[in-house]
Symmetry: C2
Subunit: 500 residues, 2 copies
């Protein structure tokens, strides 16, 4: 290795998402002496931190020869500030790339092999093309069950792993794809009311208009330290915490960000991703909700069969008790799509409001029942009755409020200042709802950053409407966002497919 | 699709190599209305050209909200100039991605499947992660022979295909990895002297200190239009033309640029890459040189066996007559590494100079012999004698000069203004030569951009040297480049491994 040389950091403010990119001038002495060109991989060091980045070469005066630019994620991972010296050198070949090539060439990897790969991914040493190659090499039948077991274990081993000193520790997870499917806060309130431990960590939205953490944040603080989270769980048995700051499966977040533009949803990656996070969060008993529907993530019974089989085997081998529940994924759940609108639905169910959305209530009760039974809180078949009684009695609502107060207080969701009602242009029956495009509309309206933004559905599948009847309302915090959303609406086929 | 909206192009001068990148401000109205974030794929249109790019989001004042930046390759592919309006819209899903996923999930593709993928790659519609996934999905035994045949045919179909109106049309190719292995100009001169047609197109250096086109450019113009090339071949039977402007296999160049940082050399990709270019160039009879050695591309006999088998099958199915020749890949060929230095070696062989490097001469004669025999110019076993007589009689040198004159003239190679001799620090025997690091040194000295720069070897494997004996000389056009190269030399283990 050549000795490292330093360049001075100049912020350029370029967001490349997870790809680490370093910007260097083509006449920079390090580029010349090290033979660095566009797409060369360099190691960057700052204090005791290090990442590997790919180089974009600057041919203009954005940078001087002695300066270096960093993508925002690189700036953050290195903790670099304007004017800091950044050490730059050619990246040494990664040992794990030989493991990656082993897998690419169709051979099997053992746990050690996965550990070296996952460790380098977690440390930011893989470029997107390496992660893409890894995901591809693991897709479909290329990874056998033992490999998914080992990958899952490797992903657990590389991050933090929480321990709660009790058993069972309950958890639940939904294999995404259904707007408004906000059962988690209700399930946690029920399960914790029943005396079980359910230290729930949730994600923010990645591509959807709201993640559970976004919805809960409307009502209570969700960015808790691990110590604060422990205090809430010790006191109330449950919590609603954003998992992002806990580093439970750091490699997973990076893999997800590459899998998405590849439109690659391999069972191997999905199972390793979900189960590694549950195990790392300390769960011993987990219920997995798989919504099935043509615009949901899982589209057929056959797909669900395969996924359930792999989930069960990988969970068993990693010591996790698992129950898969299949649910209807034909249409959105509840009425609201967006943080505050979904929070209203959750509260309506917990408060036993007569107009609370039945679909959300029934899904939450069914999932809570499965958790209660899986954890041995009641005999098989008694879970629904127990869950229902906890909601009807008001215990669930009380527990929900107590958890919120333990996390820092409860706030009623606000209503958006701008509401625009969309009505039926013709009479007819609602025959189909495009979940993906409804989600898109809610995002254009500003969700999840604009907490009160989103879509409020007024109809469901099978409803008949007359001309002028309300279909849904669009909620926005700024007129501009409503305008964007209306433009989108006008230039696309209807979101709700009516037949006359 | 939403209607396209326009942003004004502002050049930023950022070289991302082959990845198409668009830089847009986070507050840009299109980002907001289309939900565009970092790594979103957008379609860009300018006049009648279109590419798909990934977005980097600007959080600074590099751009205004109404402006867009483009990576240099995107600027070039769109023909965009400062101030031009660029239409931007969310990229529609590519049909070929479903074919790509089919392959990723382990199923077989037919020719149509490969055609859709290769077409989208050639049109710049794939991001690097898609190309990486495709290369991975095709690696090793994942692609069967029929698939490599179909991929090769698809790569031919997507580019230009030359036709020469005669048969045989000879070609040769070396499966890289050996510095100074500049047999091509000699082989073309011999084969054309023998009355065969050999319209040779060559590449410039990609990672090496010189490609054949770089070497020939020292002596004659190599950037010829197709018409000019035809005129040369009609007159002299052969040519030495840079193939880069002929668009013979446009998808291939893009795939190579992703394969390299992945360090992925799959036989499937190599065979499809090499043979598609030969077939597209109109060759009917091709000799492939596979140097075998520990620091060459092919490192073992077993690797060569597999590669030869696949080359033969894919060539046969695509109607190409092929002969594979295995050569020694232990050390560089000739004395010079770098355009002008290699040109000197070529000229010395053709002029029958008594100090011409024997290894280069013998390799060139052997390959020319194989071409002559494969094309039926002489009985099997007579090729070497015929090739040798053509060189010894001066016919090859005369033909070489005639081709150069037809291409625009012949110039003697120049000598670098700065020459630094490296001598043995101890007495000993040369036991190993690191081809890769010698190539690196020649690049640091400025090759191939600096035509006279590079390394001139004074010793070969097995030579014994005394302390102070010359090992090699370093040639540079600028003192700074010599300094970089000396720094590299001082900070690394010796390039030539001596034992005492």
């Amino acid at each position: 290795m050549t000795q490292p040389a330093s360049l001075i950091y100049k912020p350029l403010g370029i967001d490349t998402l997870q790809e680490h990119v370093a910007f260097m001038h083509r006449d920079c002495h390090i580029c010349k002496s090290e033979g660095i060109e566009a797409q060369t991989r360099v190691e960057l060091r700052h204090h005791n931190k290090s990442v590997i980045a790919i180089v974009n070469v600057i041919h203009s005066d954005l940078l001087d020869c002695g300066q270096i630019g960093l993508s925002l994620n690189t700036e953050q991972d290195l903790g670099a500030k304007q004017g800091d010296p950044i050490e730059v050198m050619q990246a040494a070949p990664l040992d794990s790339l030989s493991q990656l090539r082993t897998k690419i060439y169709g051979h099997k990897l053992d746990r050690h092999g996965f550990e070296t790969i996952v460790s380098d991914i977690a440390k930011g040493r893989y470029a997107n093309i390496h992660i893409a190659a890894f995901l591809t090499a693991m897709a479909s039948r290329r990874a056998n069950v033992q490999e998914v077991i080992d990958l899952t274990a490797a992903m657990v081993a590389i991050g933090e792993r929480l321990s709660w000193g009790v058993s069972p520790v309950a958890d639940k997870h939904c294999v995404g794809g259904l707007p408004g499917n906000r059962t988690t806060p209700i399930v946690v309130a029920i399960v914790a009311s029943a005396g079980l431990t359910m230290p729930k960590t949730s994600s923010r939205a990645i591509t959807s208009p709201a993640g559970t953490a976004d919805v809960m944040e409307v009502m209570t603080p969700v960015t808790l330290s691990l110590d604060a989270m422990r205090a809430v769980v010790d006191k109330e048995g449950g919590c609603f915490v954003w998992g992002g700051s806990l580093a439970l499966s750091p490699a997973d977040d990076l893999m997800i960000k590459v899998a998405r533009p590849l439109e690659l949803d391999s069972d191997a990656q999905l199972v390793a991703s979900v189960l590694s996070k549950k195990i790392a969060a300390g769960s011993t008993h987990t219920v997995i909700d798989i919504p099935i529907g043509p615009t949901a993530k899982v589209r057929s019974k056959e797909q669900a069969d395969q996924l359930e089989h792999l989930l069960n085997q990988v969970a068993f081998a990693n010591g996790l008790n698992l129950k898969v529940v299949r649910t209807d994924g034909l249409q959105p759940v509840g009425r609201g799509i967006g943080p505050a609108l979904e929070a209203n639905d959750v509260i309506a169910v917990l408060r036993n409001h007569p107009q609370a959305p039945t679909d959300l209530r029934e899904r939450a009760l069914r999932l809570a029942a499965e958790v209660l039974e899986l954890c041995g809180k009641c005999p098989a078949g008694d879970g629904y009755r127990l869950a229902n009684s906890i909601v009807v009695s008001g215990q669930a609502w009380e527990k929900f409020l107590r958890i919120c107060h333990a996390q820092g207080g409860f706030t009623e969701p606000l209503r958006a200042p701008i509401v625009h009602l969309v009505t039926a242009s013709v009479a007819g029956t609602i025959n189909a709802i495009d979940n993906r495009r409804l989600a898109r509309l809610a995002k254009l309206l500003g969700a999840p950053e604009a907490k009160t933004a989103g879509v409020q559905l007024q109809v469901a599948l099978g409803d008949t409407v007359s001309r002028g009847d309300p279909l849904f309302s669009m909620h926005a915090e700024a007129q501009g966002e409503l305008t964007y959303a209306l433009t989108y609406l006008d230039s696309h086929p209807p979101l709700l497919i009516e037949s006359q």
